[in-house]
């Protein structure tokens, strides 16, 4: 089959360039709408899109707030805690350490200044790295630095109720795991001259039958017993852990839950009370831990209380 003759190309016709502003003309698109072109924005469409974008944006802001609350405040507080600890260390190192008085628990009062650290706190069961400098005062500003001592409650080692508040979420979250403390766990507080070892009191479920509980025979539990059996009914409500509503300030009274009664200081136990929010991420209630002082040691070079290595 002979090849078909190619059609002769018509001579190229040169078309003069034209201004293509007619492409902007609406009529052009109306005649030939491109397939992936969206229809023109109507007001309703704009409104719906704007609303959707606003919702997405708000969601992102809430997520960011969670990140802020849980992580960023940790970073900010870590810096403040470090500064407070450094200030405390330099104070302790520069002052001439006065030798502890004959009765180690009758030491002269510490000079507490709001917002300044005055003691270090350790909870050995939370690990060696769990240590915080305790500052005086419990306002938001103070608690950003670290656990804060309720003003007007007892000082470390004093008769009465040495009470400390701490954050459970964010801001370093010192008291994040407070609910995990068990009876007889030690909480060690160090001042410039003294170590004080507090131990968590028996839980309310352990109070009856504590004497027959094998746990009470453990070395860690020496000096720990339900306070109602050793100190009488005034202490009946003082147990290792309790959950209260925020208005129950009586948990930090010298004798917890006993506000009206006045008891001479020498009849009061030496208690430590920790408070934090409960449940986590909520301020509906407060988690309270009570502990009693079982031992104290004078601070000496290179000396670390044996309780510090309990795990």
């Amino acid at each position: 089959m002979p090849p078909r003759p190619r059609p002769v190309d018509p001579p190229t016709e040169v078309i003069a360039r034209v201004e293509d502003d007619h492409y902007d003309d609406d009529e052009y698109y109306d005649e030939e709408p491109a397939k992936d072109e969206l229809p023109p924005d109507s007001l309703g469409r704009k409104a719906v899109r704007g609303f959707g974008e606003a919702l997405i944006t708000m969601g992102l802001v809430v997520l960011l707030f969670v990140v802020y609350e849980v992580y960023v405040t940790d970073l900010l507080s870590a810096g403040k805690q470090e500064d407070a600890t450094a200030a405390l260390d330099s104070e302790w190192n520069s002052d001439v350490v006065t030798p502890p008085p004959a009765d180690p628990n009758r030491q002269s009062k510490l000079n507490l200044i709001e917002g300044k650290a005055f003691a270090k706190m350790y909870i050995p069961v939370f690990g060696n790295d769990w240590k915080f400098s305790v500052v005086e005062g419990t306002t938001d500003k103070h608690l950003e630095i670290g656990p804060g001592h309720y003003k007007d409650t007892a000082q470390p080692g004093e008769a009465g109720n040495f009470s400390i508040a701490g954050h459970r979420v964010g801001k370093g979250a010192p008291f994040n795991d407070l609910d995990l403390l068990e009876s007889c766990n030690s909480i060690v507080v160090q001042t410039q001259t003294q170590w004080f070892v507090y131990r968590v009191l028996p839980m309310s479920s352990e109070v009856s039958g504590w004497a027959s509980n094998p746990k009470s025979k453990e070395a860690a539990c020496a000096g720990v017993a339900p306070l109602s059996t050793t100190l009488g009914d005034a202490y009946a409500k003082t147990v290792g852990q309790e959950i209260v509503v925020p208005t129950q300030g009586e948990v930090i009274a010298p004798i917890p839950h006993q506000v009206g009664t006045t008891v001479p200081a020498d009849k009061q136990a030496r208690l430590l009370t920790l408070t934090t929010c409960h449940p986590r991420f909520s301020d509906k209630q407060r988690l309270i831990v009570h502990a009693i002082e079982t031992k104290s040691y004078p601070v000496a070079d290179g000396f670390v209380p044996p309780e510090m290595t309990e795990a």
Partner: protein, 51 residues
Amino acid sequence: MYGWIWAHLPGPLYLRVIEAVVLVLGIVALLMFVVFPWAEPKLPFNNVTTE
């Protein structure tokens, strides 16, 4: 909103991407260091003291 912002960023594509990132970072920083610290005490998440 986002489309409008994108349309109003000046410059070529790569510059617009940089501008958008800077804008986002600026807003995040504003939230983290100004808005959230202000709003946080007003929210009922983190009160740890008894009254």
